[in-house]
Subunit: 346 residues, 2 copies
């Protein structure tokens, strides 16, 4: 047996104090964000903490009732939009003692329940749930147990805070842009939402509704054409295959997410068509993929990094003050036009 | 204050038993993987567990000394190769009670120390460290505290298991392919490794060495041309800019990772050159990005999913038997040729 009962000595507050050449009291004050520390002192202590990889011991943190960990649940690490959100969360927390642990690969209510129960079991100080599909009552349950911020759902909950973008406005930006270019047959690929209780909250459903409203506003009600798949590359691929097989195929496809647009571009290339000469494509999320030069995808920027920063800020405020009123932030999206959209073929 | 002291009742083993219409003893047996359960019984219980989102309570698990969580540290969630590895880990663990928690965004030894300390604090049952940059002594420290598998480092440690691909062979596959197509001026973009103690273990350094060996084997020693940046999209972009500015620019670029190739393709497009007519590009990792039709990148397949499965298998074996001899798996890579490589321009 290896000597598991006597692990190597861990870095202590004394080591940090010696390394930073300050007193242990000073280290303790900095770590608690207490008053009476100078910026220079804080800088010295944080540098020593970073260099030694120090974390307050579980026991010491337990005494204060905190684990200094934040759980972030995200549905799909392949979707580059979630990396943007995570960057914002990480950035906001980088000056704090909080460490993020991710619960990945959720693809349904059961998986989400398992991830959130794990985070609660581990006594995490708070959780950020990105684009959860769980029922509202399940989210309320989580939020009544641990400080919770929900990202990417339009909520009016009084138990948890939320951050989302204005998906009605975002969808309208795309339709306006394509209609201005002269398109009429503008199709949309949505993520199928079957639960009636969730439809009013889910960004995918709201984006589809925004598309419908904008098409009507442009007098294009008869050209509304929605294919329901999923917000995945495969979903975009299958959705585009359906649209390309239409007797009068659309001249533009509005994919509900950049990762969906990836699959759309793939189906278009396989069909021997070119973008934007034969067909225009727009996405949603303005990920690094959209900005990738050989792709150059027109996309709605919902400021993922800012969403992440806001979520982290709300969560720290909630941890500090459990009974503060729930805040619901809606960020206004913008459109970034690139080479994938142009006037329709004559 | 919200009633944090009295959280809603959690799902118990009794709920699972009622839902599955079996005895609580039967549920307990299935959860412990004990003998004397039929396949039908296991299926019923697992279905109920999934539907209710049940996890053994922290207390019950604590009594058995397990938390049923596995920590996975990964350096960059933007690199699609790590998603492949994670898929393999998730797949292998999907039939078990283990839940994965990810420690993301490590970019140096201090960040890695913080993540691994957090995982140890949380009493995780085991950790998988993907492409860590920490010193060998730091990895030994972690492994002496918690069962550990290291992925993507060539190790002979006696304290932890490891899984990596044969990077010398992988680099040779690329050079052989390009040389066979008629290329001589084949350049390589590597991830700079400055620590002499780590060079023998790091896949990036070994890939560069494999490139050198293969170039010499083809009589191309004078054409060896390595640019040192990082394994990121930005690193590929900056590396390719340097190479394209050479008086006699290379006819082929071997990027050390697919994510590096992304940046290479970007720089080439900005320079007004086309792939493969003006210049061939090959990557490493065979990610979904390489397989993406509009990109179609020739790439080395190091079987990320299989790497993940192997890592999870080794970890569960190590958790079950702490003093088993350390195992070091080397998987043989293969080359997937696509449209991004062709004969050099005349």
């Amino acid at each position: 047996m290896r000597p598991r009962s006597a692990p190597p000595r861990r870095v202590t507050i004394v080591d940090v104090a010696q390394h930073a050449e300050v007193s242990t009291t000073a280290v303790s004050k900095v770590l608690r964000n207490a008053y009476g520390t100078s910026p220079a002192m804080r800088a010295k202590v944080r540098k020593a903490v970073a260099e030694l990889g120090y974390r307050p011991s579980a026991a010491a943190r337990g005494m204060r009732g905190q684990t200094y960990t934040i759980g972030v649940m995200l549905p799909d690490i392949r979707n580059p939009f979630f990396a943007e959100i995570l960057d914002g969360v990480t950035e906001w927390l980088s000056d704090t003692e909080y460490q993020i642990l991710l619960g990945p690969g959720c693809n349904g209510e059961a998986a989400e329940a398992r991830v959130t129960e794990t985070m609660i079991d581990h006594s995490m100080d708070g959780v950020i749930l990105i684009a959860p599909v769980s029922s509202r009552s399940r989210l309320q349950h989580v939020a009544s147990t641990v400080p919770t911020v929900v990202v990417g759902r339009h909520s009016h909950s009084t138990t948890y805070d939320s951050v989302a973008d204005d998906d009605i406005a975002g969808a309208a930006l795309v339709v306006d842009h394509l209609a201005d270019l002269g398109h009429r047959r503008i199709a949309h690929i949505e993520h199928l939402e079957t639960d009636p209780a969730r439809i009013a909250e889910m960004p995918n459903a709201i984006r589809a509704e925004g598309y419908r409203q904008a098409m009507r506003a442009h007098g294009l009600a008869d050209d509304i054409d929605i294919v329901s798949t999923t917000y995945t590359q495969q979903g975009g691929y299958l959705g585009a295959q359906q649209l390309l097989a239409r007797p009068r195929r659309p001249t533009a496809i509005f994919a509900g997410a950049d990762i969906v647009a990836m699959g759309v571009l793939e189906a278009i290339a396989q069909a021997g068509l070119t973008v934007p000469d034969d067909i225009s494509v727009a996405g949603y999320d303005n990920t690094t993929f959209a900005n990738f030069e050989p792709i150059s995808l027109t996309s709605v920027d919902q400021a993922g990094r800012e969403i992440g920063r806001s979520a982290a800020r709300l969560l720290l405020e909630r941890i500090a003050e459990l009974d503060k009123p729930a805040a619901h932030i809606r960020l206004s999206p913008t459109l970034v036009t690139r080479r994938s959209t142009a006037a329709p073929p004559r």
